[in-house]
């Protein structure tokens, strides 16, 4: 116990805030998959919707009631699709979610489909009348105390950024402007980035929105290059600082004081690595490498101990 207290003191001295217990932040997800127009698009959109649903339930641990998927054809997956993706149903879903969210929660909205229009009139095509960017802006106005991540993965989605931009809100679009109207592949890569470990650039076990975005941008470019095509979609992001802080998966934590202490000790060591890196240019290479190794081995041993306590570090 004494040891734990002293480590907590170290952590405070280093300006750290210890990880909050599991469950402090809740994530809510609204997915809208629009009209495909062709079977191949309908299938692709449904595939991405299903992947997001699974991701939210299994990896982000989102409550079933907080996962809403509206689609072109609910019969395709009646167990998971909540209803038809009409303008009315989307508005109703926002209203319903606004009653569930608490301050500090994360609301994720992901639109998948074909886009059209410009400015506030930009839209993603759904059955019936298409809701516009202005509609989405109005619906989101009720989420000022939450972190909102709004992703429009459709073609011609670029103008959503300016229409929806707001404090505490990250807006991502598949295209830079409303004029990039060719079929977009951003969505599938963004979803893949959220799903796997590949996008987790710093390998801390949590993929931030910024990491998933960067991964998707990279992979989209790679596909175009491999196909020897000119890149016709350039994704955009409204707030990279907030995106770098935002994750959907709740951080694992433990009430076990030994683990809390280990985590704190590891954070101190991580900071020491950062400090050492800052001195790299002024140190002899061998000395730097030796010092780095000592710290990294210590971090690895802490991680090992945390794992041994049954917690994912």
């Amino acid at each position: 116990m004494r040891r734990a207290l002293s480590l907590a003191a170290i952590a405070l001295a280093a300006g750290l805030v210890l990880a909050a217990p599991l469950g402090a932040q809740r994530t809510h997800l609204l997915v809208v998959t629009g009209l495909g127009g062709e079977p191949r698009f309908s299938e692709a959109f449904a595939r991405q919707g299903a992947a997001l649903h699974t991701l939210a339930r299994t990896q982000w641990r989102v409550a079933d009631s907080s996962v809403v998927w509206l689609a072109e054809d609910p019969a395709r997956d009646p167990r998971r699709i909540r209803g038809r993706a009409t303008r009315e149903a989307i508005g109703a879903a926002f209203l319903s979610l606004s009653r569930r969210v608490a301050a500090g929660d994360v609301l994720v909205v992901i639109l998948i489909g074909h886009g059209s229009g410009e400015g506030p009139g930009s839209r993603v095509n759904v059955p019936g009348a298409d809701p516009t960017a202005a509609d989405y802006a109005a619906w989101l106005s009720g989420f000022a105390r939450q972190t909102v991540v709004f992703v429009n993965a459709a073609s011609a989605s670029g103008d959503f950024v300016d229409v929806l931009r707001a404090p505490n809100r990250v807006v991502l679009t598949a295209t830079r402007t409303a004029f990039e109207r060719n079929e977009s592949i951003f969505g599938e890569h963004f979803v893949r980035g959220l799903s796997g470990a590949e996008a987790d650039a710093d390998k801390d076990g949590r993929t931030t929105v910024l990491e998933a975005f960067a991964y998707a941008v990279r992979e989209v470019a790679r596909v175009y290059e491999q196909d020897q095509r000119m890149l016709t979609e350039h994704a955009a992001l409204s707030d990279s600082t907030l995106a770098a802080r935002t994750v959907f998966a709740a951080a694992a934590a433990s009430d076990d004081p030994r683990v809390v202490a280990l985590v704190a000790e590891r954070r101190v060591l991580e900071d020491s690595v950062a400090a050492l890196r800052a001195r790299k240019a002024s140190m002899p290479a061998a000395a730097y490498e030796d010092a780095l190794e000592r710290l990294l081995v210590a971090i690895a041993e802490k991680s090992e101990a945390i794992r041994a306590a049954g917690v994912k570090p």
Binding site: E198, L296, S303
Partner: protein, 756 residues
Amino acid sequence: MSRWIVAVGAALVVGVAAGAGHTAQPSSARARVDAMLEAGQLVDAEATARAGGAGLRTALGDVLVLRGRLAAADSAYRAAVASGGPEERGARVGLAELMARRGDRAGAARMAGALIAESARGTAGWSARDQVALGRAYLLVASGDANAVRSALRAFDAATAQEPTLVDAALRASDLFLEKFVAPEAKKGYESVLAVQRGNARATLGLARVMEFLNDGDAIGRAREALKANPSLVAAELFIARLHLEAERGDSAQAAARRALAVDPSAMDAWATLGAVAWLAGDSASWDRARAEAHRLSTSPASFYVTLADAAARQRRYAAAEAFSAQALALDSLSVAALGALGTNRLRAGEIAAGRAQIERAFAIDPFNLWHKNTLDLLDVLDGFRTVDQGRFRFVAPAREADVLLPYLAPLLEEAYADLARRYDYRPAAPIRFEIYDRHADFSVRTVGLTGLGALGVSFGRVLAIDAPSARPPGSFNWGSTSWHELAHTFTLGLSGNRVPRWFSEGVSVLEERRARPGWGAQPTPEYLAALKAKFMRPVSTLNEGFVRPRRPDEVVLSYYHASLVCEWIESEFGAPALPAMLRGWRDGLTTEAVVQRVLRIDLPALDARFDTWVQARFRDRTVSEAPEGDAALEPLLQEVAARERAGDDAGLVAALERLVWVWPYDAGVHVKLAEAAARTGDFARALRERRVVLALGPSDPLGARVELARAMLGAGDRAGARREVLAVLEQAPTFERAQTLLLELRRSAPPEDSR
């Protein structure tokens, strides 16, 4: 660096006015002379011009030039100038052109400059022929002056506007467009002349030249049409001679050149053709005569040596081509053709800086030249490539291609070199330059100066170039067999002193591809078997024709395989040393007939007969209903990979994946699979190579790929490398679990002295 080719100018009017037709009767003695010239009636034209007295002295000079009587033409022009007649300006420019032909560039420029200066004082009162003379004068001073070219075009255009029936102006403008690579404008001009003067010989020849430029249609046939309209059109004979020479039809080229000389004994290009044919045939007497004539006609006959250089390069005699180019340049330091030829041949020899310098000089003089512009742009691209010296080879490739391809290519080429050197008893000097292009257009420019070449690889001897696999769609070709093929040319060219006929060099290369790896190289196709059965394939003695004069589009491809069978048969019948012995025979200057006699101890008819018997017997009962898969078919390889995986056959999986990499090396998943399978078989060196390639491909998860690389290093016994790599990963991502695990493994398994 961006380089703009100079445009000739806005589309100028090169048409002639509707309504002017060849049916109109010549209204003057000069027009009668023109009509006779157009019909090729040079003797009658001369008589008419002589009878016309002072007023037709310029016309007489023009006729005499066409007949090659240059001294007499000079006198006629001088008389015209002295008399100050209506075509005095035409006579002055005629004199200037004669000076240029004799090699007196300064005198020509002086005289042309005087005419240009006169025009600067105003051209009011100048006739259309005077404007044509002005355009010709501008062309005489156009070296290094793009504005002069534009001025020439303006003058021709003004002449056409002034006198639409004077088609000479429109034809000269069109010729100039074509010379400056603006084929569509040239074509439009020739067609507009033909629209009003049907059958005009010069316009018909112009269209033939456009066809050749665009590689679209029977250019020789069209040139022959021009000769029907004007049997004395020397330019048409010279055009035909050049095309024959390029197609290695020496006799036909010679005949066309002789017909040209019968009309105009002063035609330098005709002597150059005769010289080239003689040089290629080793006919020293004819060569000496042609060269002497060239030097008699001009004090600086650079174009004669440029033609020689072109002919030598087409026969892959690159060193000779370079020497002829240098001779040309020594005679005329401002010759764009000589500078271009020397630069190109130096680039082929791998002398990049020297070649570039010459091409830059050429482009400075003639900024319209598309070949030179393309080549300089390519050299800019090459500046961004990485040069890697490895073993006997110097690789030049885009950085990513170098990282991905060289781990396979360098060992393959070393293996090929060792194998070929042993069997051919010949060791080409190192380094052999191997260029790899990730854009086919760049490869094409490197090869022929223009885009659009269909080939995959080229060998200039000790300089090779290939398309990277990324330059083509997946499954287009096997870059391993292609590279082996091109390296085999290095041996056949080198051992024969670059005298090996193309059929033999290609035959050896295809044979060596088949020998390199199972499944590589050409195999019999249904088309080949049908051609063999139909007796379409040429006998050995004329097999070269299948490459240089194909009777149908697929004959070249069929000939590659056929030639490889000839080489295979020679080996089986006469022993493996026969092939290198034949190459040495060509090196010694022997003809193919003599080589066959010396090495195989039979004559050509016997060679033809015996090979035909063998090849017919070999395929008599062979039926192939479908084209073989070839060595670049992706689908069967993917199926084999899947089958080996299902069967848990790691050794087979490694082999199948290796074959797959030679077709398409850019799939990171394939390399991961290969690394894993190799590690399972204990082949850690291969696993390490694969992990490096995965990283070079820019994987989606670079840190993860680096951890796998570190693990492979450890597997291959490189503990220090593994430590360095894993530390570099953790430096960026200190909590990366997989990297941490490896770091702890390294620490705990370290020998005591390594523990820190």
